[in-house]
Amino acid sequence: MQLKNTSAIYDCLPQALPGFENINRYWDHRHNIYAAKIVQGEYYVTTHNEIITTVLGSCVSACIRDWKIGVGGMNHFMLPADSRYKSDAWRDSPVDTAARYGNVAMERLINAILAHGGRRENLEVKVFGGGRLLNIAMDIGRDNIDFIKKYLRTENLEIRAEDLGGEYPRKLEYFPATGRARVKKLLKTHNDTIYRREQSYIETLKHIPVEGGVELFGK
């Protein structure tokens, strides 16, 4: 982005919804539309006509919108690897660490859409990612795919379109206003950056507590 254009862009950049002010947004010259770019662990919901874009390796993204009002968004996450939780008594149960983490990633996205006028019965869902990157031994992508499919089945949310698995990363562009999603397979030459980013995300996930706070009121 050229510096001299920055202020002009921010003059007309549609206001992000509360909670999404920190998401990287810019003017997309190719599509002539504002775009929000999310990275692993982030999600973004908009009521405006803008694109949401991300690059997926073994991570998955759910693109969800209320098709009647055009409010929607995208998340980008992977499940925490299980090595740290081997001693966890709840491992391999319906409430293991991975399931709890993934559940909240999905619920945050859906809640934000519902909070801005979306209705559960109008939700249109598309899912992408979960590739198997050759440099990574475990098939993390497969676990992410299995999770997101099970989650949507349990929630009774039908998958309208999907592009999952494969041995390549993807660039994803989603237009919540229309529901259109574009996927571009990325060439091997890009894999190195994506691979490094994923490795660092895997490391981060090992150290974040998969638990929110508990606060007791009064006595």
Partner: protein
């Protein structure tokens, strides 16, 4: 309350969440702890259940269609049988503002998702 499985079996918990997977996860955890769990998908359903049944604890989500967690808690507090029982929220919301709203509505505790199953059971055990 005596410790031990026999008595804990009788302890009833009403679990309110619009997400089926969340009900499955929390329900599984509570049942593993030996509690009897009833489920509702929103505030309206929960309130109808509460008018007909007594429970010992309510665990409710906040963001739900038809009737949200705040309204549900306020309505439950109007019922004589639900005036003093513990009501815990279980939500992705963690702002001070929402917590205060919850407390004003009559919640006795605020749990932020993702929940830790072990800690959830501990906090439940502590109130009952």
């Amino acid at each position: 309350m005596e410790p031990g499985g026999a008595d804990r079996k009788k302890i009833k918990i009403l679990l309110v969440d619009d997400s089926a997977s969340m009900r499955e996860m929390v329900g599984f955890t509570l049942k593993s702890g030996g509690y009897e769990v009833s489920q509702a998908t929103d505030g309206v359903e929960a309130l109808a259940f509460a008018r007909a049944h007594q429970v010992n604890l309510v665990i409710t989500d906040i963001n739900m269609p038809n009737m949200d967690g705040f309204s549900l808690i306020r309505e439950l507090r109007k019922l004589p049988n639900y005036k003093y029982i513990p009501i815990r929220t279980l939500t992705t919301e963690d702002s001070a503002d929402k917590k205060q709203q919850g407390q004003q509505a009559g919640a006795t505790g605020w749990i932020v998702k993702p929940f830790d199953p072990e800690h959830l059971l501990q906090t439940v055990k502590r109130v009952l």
